[in-house]
């Protein structure tokens, strides 16, 4: 009889409350607004590649991985319908300065109560399902920042059976070293999965350290094997020293949480009158939810009517809406249709 344990699970663990135990968003990889299930790769270095919502990939080398929701079409673990797959495109041995990592930044507001950087820092537990064509020891890390410098905690986990989903739990003590972790709308904590990194980013596992580290020496670098797979889903980061079942949230709610960082839409035949440059449109277009901060805007599939050109998207000082403008060459009405996207990623 384990009434105490069952009640702890029912109550949502040490995080308190039955909902929002999981500080990660889209931990079950359901939502893929940008790519809609298509494969992505890194054609450049030094900028984040966005995969399924809220999950990114960073690399110092181009074209080393393809990343895709449900890559390889394997059966997800019970209770899940999606996963995020990283597939190595070649056999590459990282040099000392290399870094290839999949990660999610958690906004500072959503980890402020962890009290990291103080003597009251709370213990957290990370849990997830992992699947790989390789076996052995793998690494991940938790990284925090004050905006200019980093703290990190590298952890190891083991996959003993190839091509089999393995449930992993890792308990991490809170960081009690004095450090000003971001607790507002900037980067708070990042959960990272190492895919391949050089010695500059390797340290000792199991303790908090200054700077940003992602692995240890002598473990699996997935990038070193051509065709190697690393798939993950059901990723949860919660307060407490025990993992609770993955928090399945309603799809609409999870989508709204994602849209704080990325949203997209289509505007059909927006109309204005009068000629001129940067002619004002009929009104601002609102984002589905208030975004984390003023977003970067892009447009695509732009179609004009009546001698128009030069669509520009401007956003004011608030992260709630944007204003399309375009050049109207002749008098009378002018129309434009376009897809838009807004990114306020961390």
């Amino acid at each position: 009889m384990t009434i105490t344990n069952d009640l702890a699970v029912f109550a949502g663990g040490a995080g308190g409350g039955m909902s929002f135990r999981n500080r990660l968003i889209n931990g079950d990889m359901r939502i893929d607004q940008r790519n809609n299930g298509a494969s992505v790769t890194a054609s450049t270095t030094g900028t984040d590649v966005y995969t399924v919502d809220r999950w990114s990939y960073y690399t110092t080398q181009t074209s080393k991985f393809t990343i895709q929701q449900n890559a390889g079409s394997v059966t997800p673990p019970a209770g899940f319908t999606n996963y995020l797959g990283f597939t190595s495109s070649s056999a590459y041995n990282p040099i000392s300065t290399d870094l290839m990592v999949g990660f999610q930044w958690i906004e500072g507001y959503n980890v402020a109560d962890l009290n990291f950087g103080t003597t009251n820092a709370k213990t957290i537990t990370v849990s997830f399902w992992a699947y790989s064509s390789l076996t052995g020891t793998f690494t991940g890390s938790l990284v925090g920042t004050n905006g200019s410098t980093f703290r990190s905690y590298v952890f190891t986990f083991s996959i003993s059976s190839a091509n089999t989903w393995t449930y992993i739990t890792v308990t991490i003590p809170g960081d009690t070293t004095t450090f000003s972790y971001n607790t507002t709308n900037g980067q708070g904590l990042a959960l990272c999965f190492n895919l391949g990194c050089g010695s500059n980013y390797q340290t000792t596992a199991g303790s908090w350290t200054s700077s940003n580290y992602y692995s240890v020496s002598g473990v699996q670098n997935i990038v070193a094997t051509n065709g190697a797979k690393f798939y993950v889903t059901g990723v949860q980061l919660e307060v407490g020293s025990a993992a609770t079942p993955f928090e399945h949230r309603h799809y609409g709610l999870e989508l709204s949480l994602c849209q704080r960082y990325y949203s997209a839409g289509f505007v059909d035949y927006l109309t204005t009158y009068g000629a001129g440059s940067n002619a004002p449109a009929v009104g601002p277009i609102c984002f589905p939810v208030t975004m984390r901060t003023t977003p970067t805007l892009t447009s695509s599939n732009v179609t004009y009517r009546n001698n128009s050109s030069g669509l520009s998207l401007t956003v004011g000082s608030n992260p709630t809406s944007f204003q399309p403008t375009w050049n109207v060459i002749s008098t009378g009405y002018s129309q434009v249709s376009f897809n838009w996207s807004a990114s306020a990623e961390l």
């Binding site: 054609s43 450049t44 270095t45 030094g46 900028t47 709308n185 900037g186 940067n278 984390r292 901060t293 003023t294 977003p295 970067t296 805007l297 892009t298 447009s299 695509s300 520009s312 998207l313 401007t314 956003v315 000082s317 403008t325 990114s343 306020a344 990623e345 961390l346």
Partner: protein
């Protein structure tokens, strides 16, 4: 990768940076909390990117 950066003005005031991000034309607000703006300003500080004046 950020290329072809130019300030974009509306009613005579710079309101964003028009820039290609990995080849896609984008409008980055002048917001110090925007990640693209942070990245662009780092490149400018390191003389790796120049932002042209608004046309």
């Amino acid at each position: 990768m950020y290329t072809n950066a130019q300030y974009f003005a509306y009613n005579g005031t710079n309101v964003s940076i028009k820039v290609d991000i990995n080849g896609i034309e984008s409008f980055v607000p002048l917001d110090p909390a925007n990640t693209d703006y942070i990245n662009i300003m780092k490149l400018v500080a390191n003389n790796q990117l120049t932002i042209a004046p608004a046309s």
